[in-house]
Structure formats: C-alpha cells, structure tokens
C-alpha cells in the first residue's frame, strides 16, 4: 500500500480525466429513494454523496443479471462459441462493504471452478473506492466490512480540505500519476485520516452480536418453531438474495430462436428463496416450505462459507432488510439466534 494526498481542485480534475478517458461507472441519483451505479459521461451526473443503492454495483457489472454464456448454430454441423463480454471500466465511488462483497464474489468465482466470464471482467475492472453514508439498516462494522483492506486499486477518503488516498495496485499508482498530482502522505495526514475513521464508524447505528458466533448456528438449525416465526410473512420473492452483494446463485437457460437454428445459453440470477430452486426432476422439492428456504439462506450466510472460506457470506450492507416487504430482518434475527443459543 502507498499513501498520498490530493487537493480538492486536483480531485475534481482527476475525476474529469477519468470520465473522459475510461468507460466510467459511478453513482447517480435515480429517484428520491435511491442512487444507481450507471455509466457517467459528465461530472455533473456523478453524485458521490449517496446513501442507498438498490443492486450492488460490483455484482451488477461482474455478474450481470442476465448474461449470454454460449452461442450456438445448428446446421448440418453444430457450431458452439463461448461468449465472453468484457471491457475495461472504472468503477468509481464503490464503498467498503460493497468492495468486501465483491471480494467474496471474487473468491467464490475462482474457487472449485474458475468462471472465465467473471474473471475476464474482474481483471479489467479498475476499482476506485470511496466511503458512503451508511443506511439505518447497515451493520457492516459488526461484519468487519466497513473498511476495505483489499480488492481496490485506489481508495479515496475525503478529509476536510484534501483527499487521503490508499494505493493498492501498480495499476492504481499509474492512473494516479498519469491523471493527477499528489503528495506523499505525512504523519499529520495519517492522524487526520484515523480521526476521520473514528468518526465514520460512529455513523453505523445498528449493532449485531456476531462475535464468536461460529458453530452456534447448528444449535438453532432444527428449531422449527423459531424458523416458522421468522418466516411467517415471507413472500418467497427472492428480493433478499437478488439485492445481496454476496449472493451468487444463477440458473442457466437454453434460448433457441424461432428459426430453430441459432440459440444461446444464458444465465440469470436465481434465488434460494424461490420454491422452484429446490425442485428436481421427478417433482421432488428439497425445500418446499418458506421456513426451510429462509433457514437455508441464513445457513449459507452464517455457516457454510464460514466453513469454506473462513468468513461469513454477509458484509452487513443491510440491503436484504431494506428490500424485504415482509420486514424480515437479518440483523435482528442474528441477535435473537445469539440470544437463544447462549442460554
């Protein structure tokens, strides 16, 4: 890691140069409720003071909701062609918990099996992080995710009269050198930065008691009464999965054109909360009830990947709480599980 500081005017020019030299994706206000990460053509569209975003920016770019994987042509011979759509992009203004969510996806898509499509796009994605205002449902400090340790090229933190920059890759260093003027960070800059972080952490109001949670999930797993209570109002709508920065499930579909010659295999986001997710040939469903499905989702978040990657599959972004019309709240539920199992 290298550390630099940059003045306010320089920052603005730096962003302008990135916008004119790269395919630039950044936060823009969508409506009164949310911001959305979209291609930005002019600095006036960019609004880095965002709070709520619907779909996590990195997931949207690296693992799009609908993606062609293979194109084929059926004539005398069958021709099959893999499709990898990727281009160099700057993802600007992504916050720490969403970077941590992306780090989880990075690991998922190269462990056990290497997903070429994901990897190609990831290599070409220049990640420039910046803090954003946490929403009321955010509990990322409890999940050790309010600070990004890695996964970015540059992380820019706004101090009172200047910007503190953490440079994490040679690519980030080159971009910074090419498009801006910076100075080495001095002791005073570090002090101000630490001060800033202390204050920033105070903005997260929701506290989740996940400390030493580890194996305790097993104790609640068979408590049907608990899961029935929690899942009572669940619509099985999948919104909690689809809006989650670490949920990666997908379904592959076969689309053949009406000419019966050309076709594609495409993948689209799937969700373990949908009844048909657990349905297999012959009509058996492994998880026919919403209670089972919710329990499975929580186990994936709080146990499965703890065993596999040594970390929870949740960064505490709070999106699943915001989007759930049944008010099913993972933060409250982790707290209740902790309470139940510690008696």
């Amino acid at each position: 890691m290298l550390y630099k500081v940059m003045g306010r005017d320089v920052f603005k020019d730096f962003v302008k140069s990135l916008i004119s030299n790269y395919e630039f994706i950044g936060p823009k206000r969508k409506d009164k409720a949310v911001h959305d990460f979209v291609p930005i053509k002019d600095i006036s569209e960019l609004d880095i003071n965002y709070k709520r975003t619907t779909i996590p920016p990195a997931k949207k770019i690296l693992f799009p909701p609908d993606e062609k994987l293979v194109a084929y042509e059926v004539n005398e011979k069958i021709k099959v062609r893999p499709v990898v759509e990727s281009s160099e992009k700057v993802l600007f203004g992504i916050n720490a918990w969403d970077i941590n969510g992306m780090n989880f996806l990075d690991r998922f898509f190269v462990t056990d099996f290497v997903d070429e499509n994901y990897l190609e796009r990831r290599k070409k994605l220049i990640v420039i992080g910046m803090d954003s205002e946490p929403t009321e449902t955010n509990f990322s400090p409890s999940m050790d995710s309010e600070y990004a340790k890695d996964g970015f090229d540059l992380y820019i933190t706004e101090l009172k009269d200047r910007y503190f920059i953490r440079i994490n890759t040679a690519r980030g260093d080159e971009i910074l050198k090419k498009y801006s003027v910076t100075e080495n960070a001095l002791v005073k800059d570090f002090k101000d930065y630490n001060n800033y972080m202390d204050n920033y952490r105070k903005k997260f109001k929701l506290d989740v008691n996940i400390k030493d949670f580890y194996d305790n999930f097993e104790l609640i797993y068979d408590d049907d009464e608990f899961w029935e209570k929690v899942a009572k109002n669940c619509y099985s709508c999948g919104s909690c999965n689809l809006a989650c920065p670490t949920c990666f499930c997908f379904n592959v579909k076969d689309d053949i054109e009406l000419n019966l010659k050309d076709g594609n295999k495409t993948r689209e986001w799937d969700s373990c909360m949908l009844p048909e997710y657990g349905l297999v040939a012959g009509g058996h469903n492994f998880r026919p009830d919403k209670e089972n499905r919710l329990k499975q989702r929580y186990r994936c978040k709080l146990k499965t990947f703890l065993d596999k990657f040594g970390r929870y599959a949740c960064v505490g972004c709070g999106r699943c709480i915001e989007v759930c019309l049944a008010k099913i709240n993972i933060a409250d539920n982790i707290n209740s599980i902790k309470k139940e199992v510690s008696v």
Partner: protein, 251 residues
Amino acid sequence: MSKPKVGIFGITGCGGCQLEILNLEDQLLDLVNAVEIVHFTEAITEHSDNYEIALVEGSITTEHDVERIKKIGDIAKIIVAVGSCAVSGGLNCLKNLYGVERAKELVYGDKKDWIDSIEVKPIDEYIRVDYYARGCPPNRLEIVDIIRSLIIGRKPEIPNYPVCVECKRNGNTCVYDIGITCLGPVTRAGCNSRCPSSATGCEGCRGLIDDPNINAQKDLLAENGLTVEDIINQFNLYNACKKVEAKESSK
C-alpha cells in the same frame, strides 16, 4: 418434420392479445416459417378447421362463445390460453360482481333481453388448457417461447415466482419506496416487471403465483393505508373470477 398447424382465435376480449402476436415484428416472419397459420381471427380471412395447436384469446361470456370454445377444444391437440381474459376471465369478470341480469340492465337498459350474456368464465372452465400465456396484454416473447417449446418438444418456462424477482433483475426502485402500492409480491412474473419498471404498481394482471402469501400482502396493503374494500378491489381487478381467500396459516 411437417410444420404444425396453428389456429389463433379471439373469443370475448379486446383483441389486444392477437395484436401482440402481430406486433412481433422481427420474429413474425420466423413464426410464419416455423408454423402454418390456418386461422387468425384478427389477421387473415382464410379459415380451416384443420389445426393441432389453438391459441385462444378472450373469455367466455355468451352462449355462442361456449359453442365456439367447445369446438376448438374438440379439434386442437394443444390449447394455449393467451391473455388474462382467456386465462382467468380477466377484466370481463367484473361483470360477475354485479350479477348478469343487473349488468345487462346497467348497460343495455330496456333492450337487455336482446342480449346473449352469461356469467363470465375463463376458457379452462369449459375445455382443457395446456399452457397459459398470462397478462394483459400478454408478453409476446412468452407467446413465442410457448410456440417454440411446443415445436421442439420441451416444457415452456413460465415463471412461478413473483414480479419482485424481475424488479430486482432490472434494478428497479421498489414502488413502495416512493409511496405506491403494488401486488408484485404475490403476482406471477413473466411480464419483465413492466409496470414497476415505469414506477407504477403491479395490478396483478398475470394472476397469482402458485403459493402466494395473501395474508402478508393484505397486511402490507393495510399498512400502506388501504381499506379492506380497496384491497379486495385491488385483487379483483384481474382476478374476480378466481376468488382470493386468505389462508389461516400461509405456508
């Protein structure tokens, strides 16, 4: 492989579903190449009673409709109900809420006895239906998918999940966040979240998913300021022929 013969029929409806098929534009030529269309109420004058697949738009609202649909049912090997009216009775079912006699009187006054009108029903109350292309209007890409699937002999992929899924895939703002109510959480997707994508609440035109959590939806609408009557009206707009009842425990 000989081309399957297809008849496209309009019973009582606005004709908009047939128009959706005509609006296929890019794919219309491929469709005409893939199947032989022997009847198309809204588009061609030729007619033949020799068809294997029937696409039927509209609900059954007259004795004459009953005769027609039964004949189609006798001839076709595969029947696809196209659009809300054929699938669930659709908007036409609002007539049933008044009762047939009262509705006739309201519309035709003292000429009401001239009118052939019966209680509105979806077509599957009279004949077997194999596939449903839901929606008002239906999604033309779904109609194509059903036809294509029939040709290649696989089951069409018709979603059994709520509209919320498509909203998320499309990155929409949930309309509840901007103060609008929506039936999306209990309504079958497949429309590509058409209404919420333009900041309008879902009105349930594709009917309910197989296992809707109606109690939760009622709570949600009530919390958003709707009265019991408003809620029943919301559910009934497209679903009046298929009564919605809250199950005690919604599993």
